[in-house]
Amino acid sequence: MLRRKFLTTLVSVALAASAALGTAYAQTGGTVKVGVLHSLSGTMAISETVLKDVALMAIEEINAKGGVLGKKLEADVVDPASNWPLFAEKARQLISQDKVVVTFGCWTSVSRKSVLPVFEELNGLLFYPVQYEGEELSKNVFYTGAAPNQQAIPAVEYLMSKDGGGAKRWVLLGTDYVYPRTTNKILRAFLKSKGVAEADIMEEYTPFGHSDYQTIIAKIKKFSSEGKKTAVVSTINGDSNVPFYKELGNQGLKATDVPVVAFSVGEEELRGVDTKPLVGHLAAWNYFMSIKGPENDSFKAKWAAYAKAKKLPGADKPLTNDPMEATYIGVYMWKQAVEKAKSFDTDKVIAAMAGQTFKAPSGITSKMDEKNHHLHKAVFIGEIKADGQFNVVWKTPGPVKAQPWSPFIAGNDKKKDEPEGKTVIAAPAAPKK
């Protein structure tokens, strides 16, 4: 009897020890997979390739400091090739086959819309690093780029102001897909609320990869000569921007006459474009490479070293931009949330993300909103300089809270500022019903 008891004790001790050992092993050793879902070919590769690289850089940094919860991160890079349905396939592969715990990816809204059902169905976690049109909230997505009120609306307000030139007529020019169409819908409503007449707004769209902007520029010239001060709001995405800006420069449309403000053009897109004729055209972002500050200096130095070490194309002239910063913030915030939740579990990490803060390279301490899955960000407006950098001419005094549901779209006032279906984890003693 005694012997039997002894045996059971022994077995249970051994079991407990092995279980403890097993957990300890899971906690300190091994790797955990992290998905990187950016187009490395096709029309969007011009913008997205560096996001892949900056995500890898952040992962490498984290690994060098011991990883997350004792586990090394292993990047799982896939190339959806600017092909929207392929984004969904690759996302499914990442989550269900490769078992990644989080994915950093997407640029265009059409690609995000394509992967969204996959992330929701499989309860994955996506960090989306690019400014977008809003009108979306998903519990499985964290938006580290700007919502319209953190980019588009302030930019238009600036151009309306005396310092921005007091624009009265507007050309809304974009690539033909969901982001430009929705942003322009919001802007149109906003402009109307500011008393701009229907006849003073011109909307134009071009297909993805469009490369001949002659007639569009001629149209802008004609429109601007038909009345008051005109400004152009460009939501052109991808490599079309290169022929657009080349044509703009060659046709001599000067920023002092007709300023063009772009929402998807940063330092990287202007690489290789002769920017001397483009001086003064604008971009609105939450970060510029030219921002001065210790955080940005260290970010730029790290990137330069990384690009050189990995022999990335363009390493001789390393450039940083806003979506790169947003990717970087995203990776680190995810790490902080995992450490807070002490788990890689999607729902626990989502709960732990609320209220996370990070001292961003822009010098602003960005906070993840407690509810709406968007970052609080400061807005900067920059003018293109002759060297392809941006000269910040306007900024908000501090971070701005995102409004994913724009008040300029009817019916949005009734929508909740929080995604549906969040699992409440360890809620402090919820009142019983």
Binding site: Y205, T215, S225, T256, E383
Partner: protein, 500 residues
């Protein structure tokens, strides 16, 4: 003692600061004041009309002001830049050099700020040259159109009515709510005149855009007109031969940048033959290894060449990376020629049109005047008979295919100057190239030319009318309908061709 020291320090500061006429107080206000303040100071500088202030203004435009000998950084935005440029131009109006004055007047006529009006009037009073006088008068008119008494304003409207700049149209349009009926009527009459002239300028610009697009389509399709049109090979890898030409241009550019930076502007002269040769060699290898076994079997050719096109894309992606590579324009290709005010023809496009014409002439001569051309035509028209009279048909096929491929390389070289160069470059041109060749009529160079120009102009006309997306759809629908009605294309091959 203290006063003396202070005096000495002040003296040092004064000596150290570069000599300019702007008073330190004004410089201080520019450095510290907000933009309204800066604009007010600039107006004062213009009113002083001292050309010695120009270096100060130029430094300001670059973002630095020297206050008490120390450079202070100033944020210059578009509004300030416009004021500064206007001020510099206004100060240059009294320059002794004729060309400087002319350039300054031209710049001001593209829209000046009201603050320069006194300077313009002053310059107008002393100006002797008729051209500059005319410009100055129109500037003064455009600035005086809202201010001044009725007679002055009417005179201003009249002057504006005889100008043909888009700025005048903008100014006159703004007068449509003018309370004074006489002025409003005069403005409307003047507006009509200006608009009539501007409409012609716009039409000319549109025609140019169409021809430019046509020239690009023509370059892309010319090679195909030979491989598909004359030889009947459905070469789906034609686009990739264009891409190879573009990448060759990129390589030559890099070579020049690394080894002959002084001669960078001339790199295109070497890129053109290199692109031709590179694509030609790839094309000839393709013909020897694959296409020649498939003559007369169009479906197999289509599949095989399509597979090869995918292989070529992937090869380039592996070697150069998936991202676009940057091909920089030589400096003589940026900028444009202003034919009428508001209509600028970019040099890059003019060069490409000229290049397309030259290539077309060259290929026309080659086919019409040389022995190879004769053989190609002979083999195309009747392969068996040509073979019977001793034409080495296999070799002619090889050379003709090489020629078509080389032309694709030339197209790639041209396209690299206006568009993006990436592994997928060819994909976006292959459909257009086939459309042009089929529409023009298979086997007809003249048809290809007409089809390219026609499609280019039609596309551009539709774009202004319905936007780029709709234009593309309408053009494709039109081609489908046209081919349904007339499968042989614009020009049908005449004669007793064996194939038909």
């Amino acid at each position: 003692m203290r006063a003396l020291l202070q005096g000495l320090a002040l003296l040092c500061v004064v000596l150290a600061s570069p000599v300019h006429a702007v008073e330190p107080a004004l410089a201080q206000r520019i450095a510290a004041g907000d933009n309204d303040e800066k604009v007010a100071v600039l107006a004062k500088i213009v009113a002083a009309a001292d050309p010695k202030d120009i270096p100060f203004l130029k430094a300001l435009a670059e973002g630095t002001v020297t206050v008490d000998g120390k450079p202070v950084e100033v944020t210059v935005n578009n509004r300030l830049r416009k004021e500064i440029d206007g001020a510099i131009a206004a100060l240059k109006l009294v320059d002794p050099d004729h060309d400087t004055r002319l350039a300054a007047a031209k710049e001001l006529s593209n829209g000046a700020e009201p603050s320069v009006l006194p300077a313009v009037r002053k310059a107008l009073a002393v100006e002797k040259d008729a051209e500059i006088q005319g410009l100055l008068a129109s500037i003064a008119a455009s600035l005086g159109i809202r201010a001044g008494d009725k007679a002055e304003r009417l005179a201003a409207i009249k002057t504006l009515g005889s100008s043909n700049s888009p700025t005048s149209r903008a100014l006159l349009t703004e007068l449509k709510d003018e309370p004074d009926l006489e002025i409003r009527a005069a403005a409307q009459r003047a507006l009509k005149e200006v608009e009539g002239r501007l409409a012609w300028a716009e039409r000319a610009g549109l025609l140019f855009a169409g021809i430019s697009l046509g020239s690009i389509l023509l370059l892309a399709a010319l090679g195909l007109a030979i491989t598909y049109g004359l030889m009947g090979v459905i070469n789906m890898a034609h686009g990739e031969l264009i891409m190879i030409g573009a990448y060759t241009t990129y390589l030559v550019q890099n070579l020049f940048r690394a080894h002959f930076p002084g001669a960078f502007d001339a790199y295109l002269l070497f890129a053109v033959p290199s692109a031709f040769l590179a694509s030609m060699l790839v094309g000839m290898a393709l013909e020897r290894c694959v296409v020649r076994f498939l003559y007369g079997r169009p479906l197999e050719t289509l599949l095989a060449t399509w597979g090869i096109s995918l292989m070529l894309i992937q090869t380039v992606r592996t070697i150069f990376g998936a991202q676009n590579v940057q091909v920089e324009n030589p400096s003589w290709m940026s900028g444009g020629l202003e034919i009428l005010s508001g209509v600028v023809l970019p040099y890059s496009r003019i060069v490409i049109i000229a290049f397309a014409v030259a290539v077309l002439a060259g290929i026309g001569l080659l086919l019409a005047k040389t022995r190879l051309g004769l053989f190609v035509r002979g083999v195309t028209q009747n392969r068996a008979m040509a073979s019977c009279v001793g034409v080495p048909t296999a070799r002619v096929d090889l050379w003709a295919f090489g020629l078509g491929s080389g032309l694709a390389g030339l197209a790639g070289c041209a396209l690299s100057q206006i568009g993006n160069v990436g592994p997928d470059l060819g994909q976006s041109y292959i459909v257009d190239s086939f459309l042009v060749v089929v529409l023009g009529g298979v086997g007809q160079l003249a048809g290809t030319v007409l089809a390219a120009l026609g499609l280019g102009i039609m596309n551009k006309l539709l774009e202004t009318w319905a936007g780029a997306v709709i234009a593309k759809i309408v053009v494709l629908v039109f081609i489908i309908l046209f081919i349904q009605k007339r499968p042989q294309g614009l020009f049908a091959m005449k004669g007793r061709s064996v194939e038909s």
